[in-house]
Point group: C2
DNA sequence: TAAGAATAGATTGCACACAATCTTTTTGCT
DNA sequence: AGCAAAAAGATTGTGTGCAATCTATTCTTA
């Protein structure tokens, strides 16, 4: 029996998993300046774009469920970046609303993407290819 | 000011992070049959290959530190797949030794890689390219 | 060779992820 | 209208990740 397929070096999932963590680590110094975790940061990215959104919709953007999001959203509310407002039409729904403070935070975050690009060695072709492959996998759910 | 770079769809890190979790999710049904988590699985992959290894060396393979590994290794020891043995020459070092039971587990795991391939839609060229890009980033530490 | 530095792992504390379950509210059906 | 099913979030419990710190041991070097 050949066990080569079980070797770590022959896996595709493993470098994906390791690389994901590695890139998140490289965000940390920049996010520390804003006192945001990575999960809080990507949540704020959606908030900056949507202004108002339900937890459900947010979860679709981030591929996360309420079990993960609820505590994250409570922290962001405590920091004053969002408000959590029960929807009046449908009582099951929680609307998330970007606050003025949350909007201001965007100004401080606006330089992060380009700083990350400097920390991750990828030419544009590879970046595009990577993007394409990753979304191809994600879209196959 | 242009805020496009802060949009989620324009990030490369985010699909990497989401895709990593998605692929790990696709492992779950197969790993559940072996009663292994993904972290325990990749740890066992190293053990199956190395038979004996220190925690330090294992951590280099997996890009994980003792804070993460210690509890994982204790669980694998409880399940009988590895032994944790203090090194006699250097008392600081902990050797991990694959047990017979651990070796047997490999037989049950041997089909997992090919089953995952079926669950992740990637042709060989893209798989190779993805592999190359990911290790390029990982190696830039 | 004795003390300080370095190293290997363990521990602690915090923040996710995610499955499973629970609560509240709304929908759909008859 | 009345009730079962479905939906949206919250809660609970387990298992990572990882920074910071602690302990035990070994190395270094004055």
């Amino acid at each position: 029996m050949n066990y080569d397929k079980l070797k770590l070096k022959n896996q595709l999932c493993f470098p994906l998993y390791a690389c994901s963590k590695e890139v998140v680590r490289r965000y940390k110094p920049f996010l520390d300046e804003l006192d945001l975790t990575y999960t809080q940061y990507i949540t704020m990215m959606v908030m900056w774009e949507q202004k108002i959104i339900t937890v459900k919709e947010l979860g679709k953007f981030l591929y996360l469920d309420s079990g993960t999001l609820t505590p994250v959203l409570m922290k962001l509310e405590n920091k004053g970046y969002i408000e959590r407002i029960k929807n009046r039409i449908d009582g099951r729904v929680l609307d998330l609303k970007l606050t003025h403070t949350g909007e201001e935070l965007m100004e401080k975050a606006v330089n992060i993407p380009e700083q990350i690009v400097k920390c991750v060695p990828l030419d544009e072709a590879d970046a595009n290819k990577l993007y394409e492959i990753l979304y191809h996998i994600l879209d196959s759910r």
